[in-house]
């Protein structure tokens, strides 16, 4: 009993066009998944939740940006079953993911590991904030000293600037 998938772009050029339309409309690139099979689930609730959490960290390799928990592809289903088998056998989360990475490479991890190639990726928040901070620092420094007690002359100049700026905007 194979569940039907929305035709993939590779299978049908028309399907590809439709998918493009979906893309264009900024809708997520996900096939409408049906409902997973309850037979797949582990009887132990805690184990099942763990397996789901692991699955959400792993990419369905034949899909676009879908985790194997979300995907309806056959491969994803096989991997879901594999994860559950390993969780039930008592493997830790790390061991299950390590097995996946050994088999499929880092491509399978939706959260890439921290290493040389991903250095910039993981540091991007820090870099972005640092750049922002530097821009502001120089932006503020470009101005005269911060307006802690202004001298009378500065006060007058500020007032004049403000008046000119707002007074005749169309000149």
């Amino acid at each position: 009993m194979r569940r039907k998938r929305i035709p993939s772009a590779r299978a049908q050029p028309i399907g590809a066009l439709c998918l493009l339309a979906v893309l264009l409309a900024a809708a997520p690139f996900h096939a409408a998944r049906a409902v997973s099979n309850p037979a797949e689930m582990l009887p132990d609730r805690a184990q099942e939740l763990r397996a789901e959490a692991i699955g959400q960290e792993l990419r369905c390799l034949v899909c676009q940006n879908e985790s194997i928990e979300e995907s309806d592809a056959d491969l994803a289903r096989d991997l879901r079953a594999e994860i559950r088998k390993r969780v039930a056998a008592g493997e830790s989360d790390k061991e299950v993911i390590a097995w996946m990475v050994a088999r499929y490479g880092d491509f399978v991890r939706l959260k890439p590991p921290f290493r040389m190639a991903t250095l910039f990726l993981w540091f991007s928040p820090a870099v972005a904030l640092a750049v922002g901070g530097i821009v502001v620092w120089f932006g503020l420094r470009r101005r005269p000293a911060p307006p802690q007690p202004l001298s009378a002359a500065e006060e007058a100049r500020l007032k004049r600037l403000l008046r000119e700026g707002l007074g005749n905007p169309r000149s």
């Binding site: 009993m1 569940r3 039907k4 929305i6 035709p7 590779r10 050029p13 590809a16 066009l17 439709c18 998918l19 493009l20 339309a21 893309l23 409309a25 900024a26 809708a27 997520p28 996900h30 409408a32 998944r33 049906a34 409902v35 997973s36 099979n37 309850p38 037979a39 689930m41 990419r59 676009q64 940006n65 979300e70 880092d106 491509f107 399978v108 991890r109 939706l110 890439p112 190639a117 991903t118 910039f120 990726l121 991007s124 928040p125 972005a128 904030l129 750049v131 922002g132 901070g133 821009v135 502001v136 503020l140 470009r142 101005r143 911060p146 403000l162 700026g165 707002l166 905007p169 169309r170």
Partner: protein, 652 residues
Amino acid sequence: MNPELGHFALALAVCLAAAQGIFGLMGAQARREPLMAATPALAVGQLIALGTAFFTLVWCNVVSDFSVLNVVQNSQAAKPLLYKITGTWGNHEGSILLWCFILALCGAAVAAFGQDLPSSLRARVIGVLGATSAGFLLFALTESNPFLRVWPPPPDGQGMNPLLEDPGLALHPPILYAGYVGFAIPFAFGVAALIEGRIDALWGRWVRPWALGAWCFLTGGIALGSWWAYYELGWGGFWFWDPVENASLLPWLTGTALVHSAIVVEKREALKVWTVLLAIATFSLSLSGTFLVRSGILNSVHAFANDPARGIFILALLGLVIGSALVLFALRAPALAPGGLFSPISREGALVFNNIMLCAIAAVVFTGTTYPMFVNLLTGEQISVGKPFFDATVLPLTIPLFAAMTVGPMLPWKRAALGPVLQRLWWAALAALCVGFLVGFGVRDGLVGLAFGGAVWLALGAFADIVERVRLFRLPLRESLARAAGLPRAAWGATVAHLGMGITVAGIAGMALATHVIVALHPGEGVDFAGYHWQLERLYDAPGPNYTARVAEIAVEKDGRRVALLTPSRRSYPVQRNTVTDTAIRTNLFRDLYAAVGEEQNGKVVLRLHRNPLAPWIWLGALVMAAGGALSLSDRRLRVGAPLKAAAMAKA
């Protein structure tokens, strides 16, 4: 109607747009009044021509003219009328035409409402819009022409992707595009100001309403897309950090920054250079969002391999538009006079902080979205960057942003002290802490507690400024109310928009507590889940206009009393040989009961049942945000400075 009429109108629009660009830019440069005076008429002419082309295509879809290739590929005779109309933009060619049509609307809007602008500035703005328009229209005419014919016409079309046969997704593209394309106006103003070499408060006063209008549409468009994903995809998610979603989020982030920094330009004539850069960046990201994604660069095999000519044309066009704007910025920005002074702790300072945080988030989302492509190009390695990465990096960045969102509006301009402002926020902070701790301990999840605390902080804090200004509880209530009514609508708009953010955060936090179960039931069986009894009453077939549905009828009971009758279904579309889940959702605003139906095996049917606390708040909050923007847009002050009517944006 004759498709050739549309074809001809499209070609005419290219010529008019090119003339609009040349007359506007060259005329203003040479100070030739007659050339400049011609631009508004050209902009309106372009709108009429494109309107003709667009509505011709709509007509071809409505009457199912299967001699038009585009209609054959995307429509079928049995499709309901609504989806025949909306199917016009449910495909590549039609949506590009819609995109260009909205851009033409923007040009005509500036022509119609910009009569008070200095003539050279107006000519340049219209010229920039015309030149941009000409490029994309040329693309539409040569590479993605929707009016191509087929002969002999087939008896029926191939049908539309059934996922698109949905009211939410039917409305989604026009609203999203109005947002994307609306940012072309601030962009054009930015480029025109760089050419002119001056930016003043009037400029800020002009740009802000347009940016705000576009922002409202973009907010609504993103929310609609997310809502669609929630109810259509059938497993209760609402945001996937998908490249396509990120593409719409990026201009929203920088656009939000733009809306805020434009306030500083308008009020204090500071941050001018930065605001121009944001205007350029926002439209550039909008362009990339609509086109780069589709050129296939981000999404690998699909589009690019499909039609390389399209991809290269689009890349060249994007490079030209974005590149020339950035070069112009690099050349001219240093010459712009620096503006008003302010100390770091001030309203301006808070808005700068807001800009840094929003842009940092945008930078991280951008890096994460494009990183796999760059790593692949540089090292040949394949890596994935998905939801877990974005959750881990973006969410921490929102914390300081949300913290400052409440404090910022209370700070005075120029120079301020944090102490007194924080003192005036004690009640919001106290409420946030209480809720945060209670929820955090209640569900034994500190992050969820933090999120709920943050939501309360945002929602209550949004009103702090108003409370302060009307001196609530310090003056008699009647007088406070009178003061509240007298406050400028822009102040209320900011409050409402910030409140909306709080509501959305609460919704997202609530969804962290969502639970679901997957069961296989015979008709007549039931299951207890999330405090409800879900009884599968029966299974039946129901015919639709161009599909057949297999419907499950589920009665949901609580303490023996029926609270909902859910009828999720699976629709089979024979023409497209395709199956789509149609979820059933019953909401009482505080929780959604959500059911999707799967396959049948041995008389049992697989059901996916969810209880999603506060789910509707996510989109409700976005609506409130957009409403806040609209409220601010209706402020009389904006109309005096720049006679923009909300109706103009509503038409876009």
